[in-house]
């Protein structure tokens, strides 16, 4: 699949913003249990809220860039009952409304904050899952149609948000607030495991062959059409929409290098930083940058490595 930068940035940026909102709500529950937000922690609350909102809005704006006819984007809520894309749009709008409401309630120190927070947390998770299910529901792209897709999207959102939360907490000098170092390490270990499982699962997998796509058996009684099928001609002399959208080819060696880089950036290096370096703002800033860069590589590979079954009809022998 063509790795569209607008969609890659959207999923990473919005994911980070939604993840940050989740950590923010968790921290607010902690403060509420302790009897209110201390003055020293107030800037953390405000800054984290703004950063989360900015990341989500930037992501959503970027996502509209990949529409060929954005004038009709408002119609995308029409098929919530069947389309994950529609569900995602609904969740994103609901999230924006809830985030503003929750922000106002938090500033006023309302007693409703834990409840509006619970709603915001639920919608944050739902939005990330809907984004992932847009891809995971497609039977045409074997590499996307797996339980790993929503799990990795959710873990990446939690990690990006969690690392940003740790950074903001250290940078604003908050005394209280949720200290999430241990949780982050467990999530990083889990992400490493799921990522390696995913890559192992698809390293040699063949889901469909050109023979199956044309219904030609490899062996049949004499005289019947049979044997390995190969393409003679695609019937077009130049690029088509299909070759542009689905024809992206990533060299295997390049893919291997990028996969290693991605695993290093998203999991190994942040784990080492959190384990070995003191949790001060500069260290956490480096961890954040490394992880977000790795998340961008992961999302780019997510598209670049995914093979659509229509490639079979363009001569690829298997997907």
């Amino acid at each position: 699949m063509k790795p569209a930068l607008s969609v890659i940035f959207f999923t990473v940026s919005s994911g980070a913003g939604l993840g940050l909102a989740i950590w923010l709500v968790l921290a607010q529950w902690g403060w509420a249990a302790a009897g209110g937000v201390p003055t020293a922690d107030q800037p953390l609350l405000t800054v984290a809220g703004i950063v989360s909102l900015v990341l989500v809005i930037a992501g959503l704006l970027s996502s509209t860039q990949h529409l060929a006819n954005p004038r009709n984007a408002w119609r995308s809520l029409a098929r919530v009952r069947t389309s994950w894309l529609s569900r995602e749009a609904l969740c994103a709008l609901l999230w924006l409304a809830l985030a503003v409401l929750h922000g106002v309630l938090s500033q006023q120190g309302s007693s409703l904050v834990p409840w509006s927070g619970a709603l915001l947390l639920g919608v944050s998770v739902a939005t990330v899952v809907c984004t992932a299910m847009i891809y995971a529901c497609l039977r045409t792209v074997p590499r996307w149609r797996t339980w790993h897709t929503p799990v990795i999207y959710l873990l990446h959102a939690l990690l990006a948000g969690g690392l940003l939360w740790a950074l903001l907490r250290a940078a604003t000098g908050a005394a209280g607030g949720l200290s999430n170092g241990g949780l982050l390490l467990s999530l990083l270990a889990l992400t490493l495991t799921v990522t390696l499982l995913y890559e192992a699962k698809f390293s040699h997998r063949v889901t469909a062959t050109l023979n199956e796509a044309l219904g030609v058996p490899m062996q049949a009684p004499a005289g019947q059409v049979q044997g390995r099928v190969r393409l003679l001609d695609t019937g077009h002399a130049h690029r088509t929409f299909l070759t542009q959208e689905f024809g992206f080819v990533l060299a295997r060696e390049q893919a291997r290098r990028l996969r290693s880089l991605m695993v290093l950036l998203t999991t190994v290096l942040p784990i080492l930083l959190l384990l070995l370096a003191p949790p001060i703002a500069p260290v956490l800033a480096v961890a954040c940058v490394l992880f977000l860069a790795g998340a961008l590589v992961q999302r780019w590979l997510f598209f670049a490595q995914a093979e659509h079954v229509v490639r079979l009809y363009h001569g690829q022998s298997r997907v």
């Binding site: 044309l214 299909l242 079954v309």
Partner: protein, 234 residues
Amino acid sequence: MKLGLAIDIDACVGCHACATACKEWNGESLMAGGAPDYDPQGPVPAGVWFNRVRHFEAGDYPDNRTLNVPMSCMHCEQAECVTVCPTGASYKRAEDGIVLIDPEKCMGCNYCAWACPYGARELDEQQGVMRKCTLCVDRIYDTALPEAERQPACVLACPSHARHFGDYDNPASHVSVLARERQGQSLLASLGYKPVNQYLPPRAQAQIPQPKAPPAPDTLKKRLASMVNTLIRL
């Protein structure tokens, strides 16, 4: 009704007349919204085609066969392109099963094209909306046309009668009979989209008798190699 095509791979000669007739009828059709070419006389004549013919070869000589495979919208019973469409622009008609796009509602997100395993949907890069085969819905119901011409343009154009149009809900219809008698196949049936269009596989061919190749002469080199191999095995 379950309208669709039966495509005879045995009869198709791969001439692209169906694809060309489709462009001629739908190129500026108001109903379909057009299948435009962006720069038809230019160096890169790219554009939207509702129907594309691809050419394959199966097997090895002397049992090899050329397969010309025209592919357009299969008007699937389980049309995932409709399921995934967020705006409601893609829809499947209840009365005859034709899958259509309302260009007034399409936002050009490409999601339906991702969901289609057959490459039947192509983006109109000028208008920013998705395009696809309409089964010539603006021909097949047009009572101003003589009855014999109320068929998709591709079917009428086919010089080798490899394309047939009809109602698969009616077991006595021309296409139902063909699909039954010729063991019609669905492409990529394993995905579960239940495509309506059926492909009639090539008929069995008479075998060309081949002279038996004489056994390779027993050369000294070969005998030595076999002796060495025997020694190694010991």
